[in-house]
């Protein structure tokens, strides 16, 4: 009895100590690998392919950071996390960054002590139902059984939505997307609700995806953003500006195909600064001059990553919508590289 109390307290103390450590860049460099938290499996966002290689829209952010810091987009250890485990994994130092359909909220930022580095997908919570249910609006869902992933903003929005609309529902809390999919397809719940992008991604894997519809209501704002721990701003800057580099690259027309040509030098100083042929941006970050070039070469610019993983030519078929560049009427807007 005494011994177990002792060991328990020791673990707690150890955990707390690990979380307080800083200097993530040095840790990553020393390790030679980036530990990146991703989803357990959402096709298009983060899922292992047939060869066990992780790929997807969120995975691409991890790879870009690994390319910028370590020079190798493959030097990533992917850590699958559930809605519940992700924050503990990040806070305890098990992962260096988290890119997992995670909504930027006030309390996660301020109270849970994380730093969101910028939005990589502007999303909102939607509902998916089988067509056969004959439902055309979320307002008709009174009394329905709803599958939700626990530990998410989804379950909070859902409670509010039904409450405000004076409807009742039966929540079925679930840990992972795969289990939710299984329960939904077996008819154990009428509705599956999560971020609309996640719904589209999940639906794309169904055998008869045409038998399921997304309801028109989007009930929340879900800015999905990669995040790091509070208190290590150097590391936060690296992840933030790697994401910005991907977005800016699209804005300036830098793609994975023309990047070799452009990095010989152009007459646009902003591109030159981004690609390291002018100025010392890399050095300021504590990296070398080619950091952004490598990040972009890892999977292409933001637009290329989007098109390849979740864009309209993929089975997931998401339109750019809010996620277009600001010049095209979207919300993507990278601060200037100068």
């Amino acid at each position: 009895m005494r011994k177990s109390v002792f060991l328990g307290a020791l673990t707690v103390a150890g955990l707390a100590a690990a979380a307080a450590a800083a200097g993530t860049v040095d840790d990553v460099k020393a390790r030679g690998k980036l530990n990146c938290g991703v989803a357990t499996g959402v096709p298009g966002f983060a899922a292992p392919d047939a060869n066990g290689e992780w790929e997807g829209f969120d995975v691409a952010v991890c790879r870009a950071v690994a390319a910028a810091v370590l020079g190798d987009p493959k030097a990533v250890e992917f850590v699958p996390t559930t809605g519940k485990t992700r924050f503990t994994a990040l806070a305890s130092g098990e992962i260096d960054m988290l890119a997992r359909n995670t909504t930027w909220t006030f309390s996660r930022d301020v109270d849970l002590k994380f730093e969101f580095v910028g939005v990589n997908y502007y999303d909102g919570q939607g509902f998916m139902v089988p067509k056969a249910l004959g439902v055309s609006s979320a307002k008709e869902l009174d009394g329905a059984t709803v599958c939700i992933q626990t530990g998410t903003t989804t379950e909070l929005n859902l409670a509010d939505f039904f409450r405000v609309n004076n409807m009742s529902y039966e929540p079925v809390p679930i840990e992972t997307n795969a289990e939710a999919q299984q329960q939904y397809l077996a008819g154990a719940c009428d509705v599956y609700t999560t971020d609309a992008s996640g719904l589209a991604a999940t639906r794309a894997t169904f055998e008869n995806s045409a038998d399921h519809i997304l309801l028109p209501e989007i009930i929340s704002k879900e800015p999905l953003a990669p995040l790091v721990r509070h208190g290590d701003s150097e590391w936060g800057d690296i992840v933030r500006w790697t994401l910005n580099a991907l977005i800016a690259a699209e804005e300036y027309g830098v793609t994975s195909t023309n990047i070799g040509e452009l990095s010989a030098g152009t007459d646009n100083p902003e591109i030159n600064r981004l690609l390291g042929t002018e100025g010392k941006l890399g050095e300021m970050l504590g990296l070398d001059a080619d950091w952004a070039k490598r990040a972009i070469m890892a999977g292409g610019n933001y637009g290329e990553i989007f098109a390849k993983n979740i864009g309209e030519s993929t089975p997931i078929g998401l339109a750019r919508g809010l996620n277009a560049q600001w010049k095209d009427g979207g919300l993507l807007y990278s601060p200037p590289f100068r």
Partner: protein
């Protein structure tokens, strides 16, 4: 007057603390205790400091904030505006429900299997062996998930009950619906209900107790007491005269007639589940998460209990059985009158730890989305508030209290079945 043989009065010297065997063990224990407390104090202050450095000093204030999430199985009133403390309390009740259901079922199955495993019938004995070995040797988490998968995949969804020619039908005169969302059974309703007593006002621990239930339990208790009194009287008459009066109709009557009258007065009727909209409404809904968890926990624990029961029975020497048989007792009575009462003394102590195991294993509930205390306080609340240390410490305290209570009750029971030595 002093005699020479009187021992010299020892004066206490400090070194005796170490060299005198009378004091040495106490000295060592005190030093060890001081050392232990120093280490503990250091660990606690270190943890507190690190948490403070992280900007997360220990603070239980979050418990009064609104929980903002819904819980499907609520034994008491709860909605998403209630506090985290209330949500935890609802979770705690769910833990207790599955623990009580599980312990009761596991005991019944365990005793039956344990006895049958010793059966001279080869087939029955072997079957029980297969059951015990397969349940004991597979982790309980897998059983829980397995039962849940079976329930979800093989049973019809509520929509299958709809239409003119439905694929699935309700059972027992349209009173029971078995679906892949759980089982709906009729619920007892009272049209002249006595109402509820509200305990603890509007606090997070507020608790409604149904007066109908109390009335029923009281009448039932009185009936059983009267029935026991009649039996004792019959025992007395039998001892005095040798003839036992027939009492079964009297005993049945004192229990059932007052109960029936009370139920009639309360306007007892059954509320039937009915398919309305997406789901069945009305009736009592036993969710499949509860059923899967309950089945898995009780079948798993029953396998261990069966072994304990078997060991307990084997511990009673076969001379007892033979002696009882020689007195003309039939095998069933030998078991219930001679063997089991003695075997209980061997069975109860290890049984306690099985009950504790079952209760602690119920924390795997979240695997099937059953909202127990681990799912609420240690799950969603912890996750949404980020108060890991507070939540885990509270959770440990709660399980500790539950376990100690079970131990206390069982120890008391053990005391009462113990052999009275004269």
């Amino acid at each position: 007057m002093t005699s020479l043989t009187d021992p010299q009065k020892d004066r206490f010297r400090l070194s005796m603390l170490l060299y005198d065997t009378r004091y040495r063990s106490a000295t060592i224990q005190i030093i060890a205790l001081i050392f232990f407390m120093l280490v503990a104090a250091w660990l606690i202050s270190n943890t507190a400091q690190n948490l403070a450095a992280l900007g997360k000093p220990i603070d239980l204030g979050f418990l009064t904030e609104p929980a903002s999430y819904d819980i499907n199985q609520r034994l008491l009133d709860y909605d998403s505006r209630d506090s985290h403390l209330r949500a935890s309390f609802i979770g705690l009740l769910n833990t207790l429900v599955v623990a009580v259901l599980g312990c009761a079922t596991a005991t019944v199955i365990g005793v039956i299997v344990g006895v049958l495993r010793l059966s001279p019938n080869w087939l029955v004995g072997r079957l029980m062996t297969v059951y015990v070995e397969s349940f004991r040797n597979v982790p309980v988490l897998l059983w829980i998930v397995f039962f849940m998968a079976i329930l979800i995949e093989t049973l019809p969804a509520p929509s299958a009950f709809r239409g003119d020619d439905p694929a699935a039908h309700m059972l027992l005169g349209d009173s029971v619906a078995i679906t892949n969302r759980g089982v709906y059974i009729p619920e007892p309703l009272f049209s002249n209900s006595l109402g509820d007593i509200h305990l603890f006002g509007a606090s997070p621990l507020r608790f409604d107790v149904s007066l109908d239930l109390i009335a029923i339990l009281a009448v039932l208790g009185l009936g059983l007491w009267a029935s026991a009194w009649i039996r004792r009287r019959a025992d007395g008459i039998q001892e005095a005269t040798g003839a036992r009066p027939t009492t079964w109709y009297l005993r049945l009557g004192v229990v059932s007639v007052p109960l029936a009258v009370l139920l009639l007065m309360l306007g007892f009727h059954l509320g039937m589940p009915e398919l309305k909209g997406f789901n069945f409404r009305g009736g009592t809904h036993m969710r499949n998460s509860l059923i899967a968890l309950w089945l898995a926990l009780s079948l798993y624990t029953a396998a261990f209990i069966a072994e304990i029961v078997r060991a307990g029975i084997l511990a009673i020497s076969s001379g007892q059985t033979e002696a009882a048989a020689a007195l003309g007792l039939r095998p069933r009575r030998i078991m219930s009158l001679v063997i089991l009462p003695q075997a209980l003394r061997v069975i109860v102590p290890p049984l306690i730890s099985q009950y504790l195991n079952l209760t602690k294993n119920s924390s795997l509930a979240i695997a099937v989305g059953y909202m127990d205390i681990t799912g609420t306080l240690g799950g969603i609340t912890m996750n949404q508030t980020g108060r890991e240390l507070e939540c885990v410490l509270m959770l440990m305290m709660i399980y500790l209290i539950i376990s100690l209570s079970i131990s206390a009750v069982m120890n008391w029971y053990n005391e009462s079945v113990k052999l009275r030595e004269r």
